[in-house]
Amino acid sequence: MLPRPTSHSKALGPGVAGPELAVATSAVLDRPPQSCAHLPLTGAQPCVVDPAVLADPRQHTKYPYVTGTSVLAIKYRDGVLIGCDTLGAYGSTKRYKSTQRIYRVNSKCVVAAGGEVSDFQYISNLLDELATDDFRTDDGIELTPQEVYSYLCRVMYNRRNKFDPLWNSLVVGGVEKGGQSFLGMVGMIGTHYTDSHVTTGFANQLARPLFRERQSDDMSEEDAMHLMYDSLKVCYYRDKVSINKFQVAKVTGEGVSISEPFALDMRWDYKLFAAPTKWAVGAW
């Protein structure tokens, strides 16, 4: 791509698409509109490099195959709780019912993911290498959740820039050195934020209203678990790609504990559920 000639504006300096003179004359004002006025005057045209054109042998993730659904996370008095179900769905098929979507990085930090399971397994591997290297420095200092979060932000964003994203929504949770809790979310295009409660996928719509109403940073563990269970129930009722089999990870100053898979009691015993059209002839 040859660079297109620049216009040298005496008013604004070289290489700038501006008026040629500081004062616009009829030569400039009456000039017909340029069709490529929005394009830069120097450099190659944007988006010209399509990897397929260059016969790139690498694969590019275009769509996910085996996916995990929502992840829910809240801060509470002693630390953070992160919950999700254990389903690896294959499109609309509930195929793998015991997938691990929560990964323990070290005694202070945990990462959970929705989205493509294979990409999360790759990320877990990266984190394992990071944590192992960290351990080998043998200085008694562990990676903090903030550091893991920043690292993952860069990983996700750089992959996005290569048009080969890791198809995940990640939740990073843990306890910092000073004892404060940390919760952050990193998306597949590098979007990231931290907050007192964080959700991915369907939980954004279903669980966030419950969190906004009931979560507070100094809530007790019992209240936090109760809130987590209620939110997991709503996600199971209303997300078709979910199962009644959950894991909750708890990270406190004491360390990390990831629960064994458990179920929640779902309510189907409302009277109207049994015969919704009984008294409504012609209804559905």
Binding site: F202, K240, V241, F262, D265, M266, W284
Partner: protein, 219 residues
Amino acid sequence: MVSASDAVSLGTSIMAVTFDGGVILGADSRTSTGNYVANRVADKITPLSDNVYTLRSGSAADTQAIASHVQHFVAQHQAEEGDHISVKTVANLVKMMAYNNKDNLQAGLIVAGFDKHEGGQVYSISLGGTITRAPFAISGSGSTYINGFVDKNWRDNMTEQEAMDFVTRALKYAMTWDASSGGCIRTVTITSAGAKRQFIPGSDILPTYGELGREAIRA
């Protein structure tokens, strides 16, 4: 972005089986809009007459429209004939609606019932309006997962209890694999004595491999 697949649809598991003395119709209770479960306790078993019911799968709006039209024609027919309509006639009315409007509909229905001429009968009406009579029929997105199961476990002339167990087991497996099916199991048993409804709440459905039973319930 709203797409055609986001329309309210009965991604579904439905089936009907004949047994010695009548038919049993069974369905799950999930209606989904995309991945959202719009109704977790839907009723997909719709009466077309006292002795003939239909199971609906596909677009909720389309199947409701067809059922509604057929209910009207059946009522008219029964008023003129002064007798219960035969299952075959109802099934053909449904077929006519599905076939003549095939370009505009996305509906797969199973029509099943009991009449004094031929006893219990099951008719399956597929997307284009093909009508097929069979001793039993399965349909909906969840049915693909239980083709092997029903082929292996179907028997002719089962008792009512055996047929009920067959239907509930088959639907359980369909619901466990298909994300578009779930919730509760509804059944309707039609015999010479009329139609009887039953409801199995989701919590009463036994877990399959990989799922958890009630002993694992934490809260």
